[in-house]
Symmetry: C2
Subunit: 224 residues, 2 copies
DNA sequence: CTGTGTGAAGGAGTTCACAGCG
DNA sequence: CGCTGTGAACTCCTTCACACAG
């Protein structure tokens, strides 16, 4: 089912979903690819092509039924029920992400939060009790969780990922700078969000040309 | 200078930089594109092509001088000195990002943290005093800051971005779900990090095929 | 006449193949 | 020989153009 769908298309689906949610909030039932283009920033042709990957959802002459398309996209992504996820690593980033999940990520339910620090294990975060990492397996199996977020220290990332995959996790959102290696046979997918890289590459666009040229002169002395 | 450099190349430069830092830590002076390929995961040809965008830094037969290449990349990105940035919005995500910046992002110095909440303005975070947003302009000008991180509530994002651009900021890392609009004439660059989208698109890969097909049946009833 | 779905054309980025330098 | 730098081939995705449906 749905083989050969480009990665970029999958990345755009949640954007469409969010736009459709906004339309529903405004009691709009029908939307054209052109109108979706205006609110998402992607071209109308691209939107039509993306949706065509999964079948023809639109009606020529009128557009797409908002609620139907929303349900379709949810089903494609795998959000047909509140999808349950867990998070490992309750440092500042982990706590921030917990709050973020609870407040701003629709269709996703955080059902487990784990750490190894005895000082935080047993405390509660937004009503959820933080458990020791050794408790992961039963919870993952009970809730049939497929997706996990890793916000542990870099050095623990690989080991935690292996434990998660062992427990049946198939998709990992990795906030560490460790390049997590998974065996092909594990069929697990790791997506990296590296804040340091995001920020450092942004620098390129922040520097005014005059400064870069000035910097170059200096660097030629330093480097050469 | 450096016109027509693909966006994807800029995104890879910080990865190379991190790899080179690791080599320096291990007292390695020379590295080939093949060795860089092993530690970064990008192909050796791609690495050579990327670096060729900025000139020939390597030596045929031996490879790249690690310290020289590192200086070159730093200069290209604009990290030739500790680049100073500011952050606006001291909620959980803002605090997490501050800590992250201080501990894990090399070559970047956080020089300003801003909020509008009187309860946090005046308090300190990792030694840095949180200031009121109205104080941004003098600090940006004093430190000649070009880059800012936005972690404010969604509804304030556009207004904060406009104030920042007004103050001379040219690159913004936007953690809100608001699609910030900038006038072409402002010549500012906005990079979005949308945690909800990252997580939701990950779901697609987390769902096992059998489950997606099952969900499809249900959704057909719901949607059709 | 409006808007979808889609083959064809075009563009961007990656991989290949190899010339040439150390 | 080993490794860089680079034109050429190729792959992937986007944009264009239009047939066809309501």
């Amino acid at each position: 089912m749905y083989r050969n769908v480009p990665n970029v298309v999958i990345k755009r689906l949640p954007v469409y979903l969010r736009a459709l949610d906004n339309q529903i909030r405004n009691d709009i039932n029908l939307i054209s690819s052109r109108e979706l283009s205006l609110v998402t920033g992607f071209s109308a042709e691209q939107i039509r092509k993306d949706l065509a990957c999964f079948g023809g959802f639109g009606t020529p002459g009128s557009g797409y039924r908002v609620d139907f398309l929303r349900n379709k996209i949810m089903q494609i992504i795998g959000l047909h029920r509140d999808t349950q996820i867990i998070i490992v690593g309750m440092g500042h980033l982990g706590i921030a992400f917990c709050r973020y999940t609870f407040r701003k990520i629709p269709y996703v339910e955080l059902v487990g939060a784990f750490d190894i620090d005895p000082a935080v294990v047993g405390t509660k975060i937004y009503g959820l009790e933080i458990q020791h990492v050794s408790e992961m397996k039963p919870l993952i199996e009970e809730h049939q969780v497929n997706v996990a977020v890793i916000t542990v220290p870099d050095k623990d990332a690989q080991s935690v990922a292996e434990q998660l995959i062992e427990c049946g996790i198939t998709a990992i959102l990795n906030f560490t700078t460790t390049n997590i290696l998974v065996k092909k046979t594990d069929n697990a997918y790791v997506h990296n969000v590296d804040l340091a890289l995001e920020l450092q590459s942004l620098m390129y666009y922040g520097i005014k040309e005059c400064e870069r040229v000035a910097g170059q002169g200096i660097s030629d002395l330093v480097g050469g």
